[in-house]
Amino acid sequence: MIRIYRQLFTAQFQAAAQYRIQFLLWMLFSVIRPTIFMAAWVAVAAAQGGSVGGYSVADFAGYYIVMTLVGHLTAAWNSFEFEFEIRQGRLSPKLLRPLHPLHYAIVENQVFKFSTLPPLAIVLAILALTFQVHFATEWWHVVLFVPAIVLAWALSFMLGWVVATAAFWLQRVQTVNTLLQRTSFIFAGQIAPIALMPAALQAICYALPFYYILGVPTEILRGGVSFERAVALIVGQAIWLGVCWAAFLVAWRRGLRQFSAVGA
């Protein structure tokens, strides 16, 4: 398996080298959105005399800079592409290969991240300097961040695939995607650290998977949670990952059974 993956990575890196500029452009998207909300919250905090609900200007900056990194590392886009693959008949040849399509997607996903991480790090460092960020990170925060980010990525990736499989039955997965994106926009901690949301919305945040993808690794790395809380949140991530994995297995098997390629 390791040998297979090494080959896949080499091939994918070569393929990706053709699209260097595009990669940088997509990166731009992942930086601008958090910067916008950072600027807005910094303004709110400034209007309230420097801090809102325990978050100072420097905390907001730290929160959103870490979130940009987390958002980048956990990004998954298969739910957008899968529909096209089905419609254009590109799925069928992939199914004939001995390797599950999932593996190709994993490698493609990772290669994009490896190749864009250095420029992203530079941009984030500049942002961090402009806003004079503050982190309360202890050493164990960094240690816990490792499983948290891996789980977050796996969860995001599998959730994306569950949605992608909807294309076996639905013609407009795009609408489902918009629905998911906007729900995530509200409940993942993107528009605000969830501690600042009304209690009812906070409860929804904890119940849905989105907070475990973006908010949890962010709060852990910036040092915003206690040790016990961090562990509890990581358990939450694992539970949601299990649910998504199970849902994917069922949906994939059922979907394939009734899938007939376009034109077949």
Binding site: I32, T35, A39, A47, T178, L179, A192
Partner: protein
């Protein structure tokens, strides 16, 4: 002028006919847009649960700003974007010849020939959100403010149009202009908050190179009496300059166009 308006109506009707084949699609797009606009407003409401002003902007003023944002973005997606997309295709394939042969202003026809009628809900939702904000501002909106607002809004649309025209004109020389457009879209997102919120470099970008920030903020400032006739006059002058330069650049590009078989 009347002739151009009549032509514009005909373009709209033909696109509408085409789009009516996909009526269900309309409903889905509407649903998505309600969701997008709803969550944007929700985000701002959460912020205003913690403060009464955002860098000097009150909640009703922010609602107006969000409305204007979707108005400009929607207007752009409805009108210019689809036409310009086709234009780039025409340049690449050499089929721009057909447009050049028509006895009308070429800039007019490449700018508004195609519409994406499904984006009308964007504009409508923008109006609704803006209307809610205006209703809350209530009596404080005088006739002068309203006039300045309308003028600034027109300028905003014209500024965005001018930038897009320059970008697509580049396709006469370069084949891959899409990348530049991607940068434009990435920055568009930042228009949903007033530009005065952003750090210097971003504010500068949004007021000059990618004028979406000023296009959205200026009308909202006008309605909130944050800027007066002088500023709007300056904005109008700037817009005229931008439009003239963009049109001149377009004609320069056109002269560079050699057609399909040449």
């Amino acid at each position: 002028m009347i002739r151009y308006l009549r032509m514009f109506r005909m373009f709209a009707l033909s696109e509408l006919q085409f789009e009516l084949e996909y009526r269900l699609n309309f409903i889905f797009v509407l649903l998505e847009m309600v969701l997008v606009v709803g969550t944007s407003v929700g985000a701002v409401l959460i912020m205003f649960a913690h403060t009464t002003n955002l860098n000097g902007w009150t909640l009703p003023q922010m609602l107006v700003l969000i409305g204007v944002f979707y108005l400009i973005q929607g207007g752009n997606a409805l009108l210019f974007e689809p036409s310009f997309q086709r234009l780039m295709e025409h340049v690449r394939l050499g089929t721009l010849d057909y447009h050049l042969l028509k006895p009308v202003n070429t800039q007019f026809i490449v700018s508004v020939r195609h519409m994406r009628v499904v984006r009308i809900p964007d504009v409508l939702l923008g109006f609704i959100v803006m209307g809610v904000g205006l209703a809350q501002l209530g009596a404080r909106v005088g006739p002068l403010d309203a006039l300045l607002f309308a003028l600034a809004l027109l300028c905003g649309l014209a500024l965005v149009y001018s930038l897009l025209l320059v970008l697509v004109t580049l396709s006469f020389w370069f084949v891959r202009v899409e990348n530049l457009l991607t940068i434009f879209w990435a920055f568009t997102d930042a228009g949903r908050f007033p530009v005065d919120l952003y750090p210097g470099w971003l504010r500068f970008t949004l007021s000059t190179v990618v004028p979406i920030g000023i296009a959205v903020t200026a009308p909202s400032q006008a309605i909130a009496s944050k800027i007066g006739p002088v500023e709007v006059a300056l904005l109008a002058a700037g817009t005229v300059v931008a439009f003239t330069v963009a049109s001149a650049f377009w004609r320069l590009g056109l002269r560079n166009y050699t057609g399909a078989s040449a």
